[in-house]
């Protein structure tokens, strides 16, 4: 009787695995579309928080969205979890690019061992997902986002809707894992008809095509839910949905087969829901940011910090948490601007490891404590990490700052982007791309400026790159960037080429005066030349003979 029915422990485990698998899947997908390179560290000591033995960061916002969509349910037959990736241009046009589906079908594999084989296969599947997410067309699009478009995500649960992908979309299967309750399938349907993009750009006015602005236009978090660009989700949602529950049970198995599992408490969602991130979020507007930054010292390194650093003190608690929640975002966001060639808002570090990374640097490795590899660390981690030289709280604040940029995406990117676009436009032609939202103009223009003074004042010696001057530069500098040329392949893009070769000097031979003069000279010198040649007749003849 034992084989056919799943033991209750197995069942519980299986449900947990599936749930976390779903959450991790979403993380991988969204992170792969943030536009930056991801880097996490390997660690030989299990921390208990790295599900499936993979170091996948948990961006709290994303987890939150995913949990919201799932609403306590698990993928089942007819109820699939879908992550929709879409692109939205600065004019507000949007287009669905991909739908990633996590589905369950009825085909059960009763024989399979849950705690072992299923777990490992889920791990393998996540690795496959990591690989596949870099291979679909949307990846390259997402790496270039920020200027003319951004990538958004939306999670929904229920029936898969593929109609928005246009004709001829393709499907790639990432993999399947059989379990005693059904077979989990992970696949991606992606649009191949991207014609929309280029034609649109042409239809619209040149400015989009031409003007590149500001690089610090972030990689905002892709959005979530009804095509609502995700920003840091205004208080409303977050405030309401703070499931402080469920956490204590999030345990991640770290050992298998022969020995009893060493269960480390894996508090996934704890910290970032603890305190009103919404509050902080909302105040992404300048003043609060200012407040947050006043705490910042000279740290110029961006790192993914354990959220609970300094969680004790009232002062720090606030920004810390915020940062904690935002952490995952920043690393990604930072790199973006830098990569685009502009001056990064804040000196970005090349490949910031995960928080785990940071922790390791700060303190002696102590596996157990680092179970809080995610923002939601326990108090232990606080003391552990803070003694490190990380200067973390400051880093955290720094990151908050960055996140803010992204946050503006709230009014879809129109806001930020247009803000940036606005000024260059003024300098050029009156390219007034009509935006849906006109009031964005109110706020956004401030933001870049605000940021720089903030930056200037807040960053003490340590930070270099991101200091004041930059933002200004960003506004002034204009790149003629034709939409149809790929600037990251050719060393010289069409725009540069055009500019450089716009006014070539005249060919000297075409100039009449000079031509006339030399002509006369030529004529005069002819007799001399002839004489010389006649002298060498013999040589010439010999030469001619060799040719024959």
């Amino acid at each position: 009787a034992m084989d056919t029915d799943l033991s209750s422990q197995d069942r519980k485990d299986l449900d947990k695995f599936i749930k976390f698998f779903a959450l991790k899947t979403v993380q991988v997908i969204v992170q792969a579309r943030l536009g930056e390179k991801i880097c996490t560290r390997s660690s030989s000591s299990p921390t208990g928080s790295d599900w499936f033995n993979l170091a996948i960061k948990d961006i709290p916002e994303v987890t939150h969205e995913a949990k919201k969509a799932l609403a306590g349910q698990l993928p089942a037959v007819g109820r699939s979890m879908c992550v929709e990736i879409s692109l939205k241009t600065s004019e507000g046009d949007s287009m669905e690019l991909e739908i990633w589906c996590l589905e369950m079908n009825e085909k059960c594999d009763k024989e399979i061992k849950v705690s072992y084989t299923v777990y490992n296969r889920l791990s393998l599947l996540l690795k496959s997902l990591l690989a596949i997410t870099r291979v679909t067309p949307a990846y390259r699009l997402s790496r270039k986002q920020g200027h003319e478009y951004v990538i958004l995500y939306r999670i929904y649960f229920g029936e898969v809707q593929l109609s928005g992908l246009g004709e001829g979309f393709q499907t790639v299967r990432v993999g399947t894992v059989g379990t005693p309750v059904g077979t989990i399938t992970l696949s991606c349907a992606y649009r191949i008809n991207l014609a929309f993009m280029s034609t649109r750009q042409f239809e619209r006015t040149p400015p989009i095509m031409g003007i590149i602005i500001d690089h610090f236009v972030d990689r905002p978090y892709p959005s979530s839910s009804p095509m609502h660009p995700c920003n840091y989700r205004a208080g409303e949602d977050n405030g309401a949905v703070l499931p402080s529950v469920e956490d204590s049970q999030e345990v991640c198995t770290t050992s298998f087969s022969t020995s009893p599992p060493s269960q480390c408490v894996f508090t996934v969602t704890k910290a970032h829901f603890q305190t009103p991130p919404p509050v902080v979020t909302d105040t992404l507007k300048v003043p609060v940011m200012g407040l947050a930054f006043s705490h910042q010292l000279s740290s110029s390194r961006l790192s993914y910090q354990p959220a609970t650093l300094g969680v004790g003190s009232a002062d720090m608690g606030y920004p810390v948490l915020f940062a904690g929640a935002l952490n995952a975002a920043h690393p990604h966001q930072l790199i973006g601007p830098g990569k685009e060639g502009g001056v990064p808002l804040i000196p970005s570090q090349p490949a910031h490891g995960t928080q785990a990374d940071q922790e390791r640097m700060c303190t002696p490795v102590d596996g157990v404590h680092y179970s809080a590899a995610t923002p939601s660390s326990s108090e232990d981690t606080v003391s552990n990490s803070s003694e490190g030289k990380c200067g973390s709280p400051h880093d955290l604040l720094e990151t908050i700052f960055i996140r803010k940029v992204g946050a503006f995406v709230n009014k879809p990117i129109n806001q930020v982007t247009m803000a940036n676009l606005d000024i260059p436009f003024a300098m050029f032609a009156p390219k007034n791309v009509e935006l849906e939202d006109n009031d964005p103009m109110v706020n956004p223009p401030d933001s870049p400026e605000t940021e720089s003074p903030l930056q200037g004042s807040l960053h003490s010696d340590g930070s270099s790159g991101s200091s004041t001057g930059n933002t200004h530069d960003d506004f002034v500098m204009i790149d003629f960037k034709p939409a149809f040329s790929k600037d990251d392949i050719l060393p010289m893009d069409l725009g540069t080429f055009y500019r450089e070769f716009q006014n070539p000097p005249q060919l000297s031979s075409l100039s009449i005066d000079i031509g006339a003069q030399s002509m006369a000279e030529d004529l005069d010198s002819l007799p001399e030349k002839l004489a010389v040649h006649e002298k060498n007749v013999k040589e010439f003849d010999a030469f001619v003979e060799t040719l024959q």
């Binding site: 000591s45 170091a55 299967r173 993999g175 785990a356």
Partner: protein
Amino acid sequence: AMLAVLHTVLLHRSTGKFHYKKEGTYSIGTVGTQDVDCDFIDFAYVRVSSEELDRALRKAVGEFKDALRSSGSDGMGQISLEFYQKKKSRWPFSDECIPWELWTIKVNVVNLANEQERQICREKVGEKLCEKIINIVEVMNRHEYLPKMPTQSEVDNVFDTSLKDVQPYLYKISYQITDTLGTSVTTTMRRLIKDTLAL
């Protein structure tokens, strides 16, 4: 030539990754990953975050690349990544290496005349690589065979435990170059062929 090499490196990385797992005293460590952008091809891939592993692969590929280079400009070659298990034999026989999975990548060196061709090639190779990654993932998903998880005493027969942060299955890389005349110049690492034949 460079393209061919990177092509190879990429596929290697992607392949190896799936099997990596770290095990220590009955618990398994964490594998980190990182994105890598290719310098010469329009392609990005994910690899395991392990410098040691990266170095080992780069070294093997570097050798392959050199061999390809020295074989002439239009050479062909293939590089193989094999996963094997060791089986201890009694003295005086040496341990057997029993392969359980073999990946072979065939490579052609292409000469490109100008920048434009190179550009086109970059893109095409990038696309091809995308297809290859999908293929690899498909194969991985078949769950055809994986060695059983070993006990501690057996772990070295299944896994390469020499790396400090990750633990791939035991593997070896070998390659062979076919020069333009079509003859095969084998530069295999040790017992690959012998073992295969023995089976």
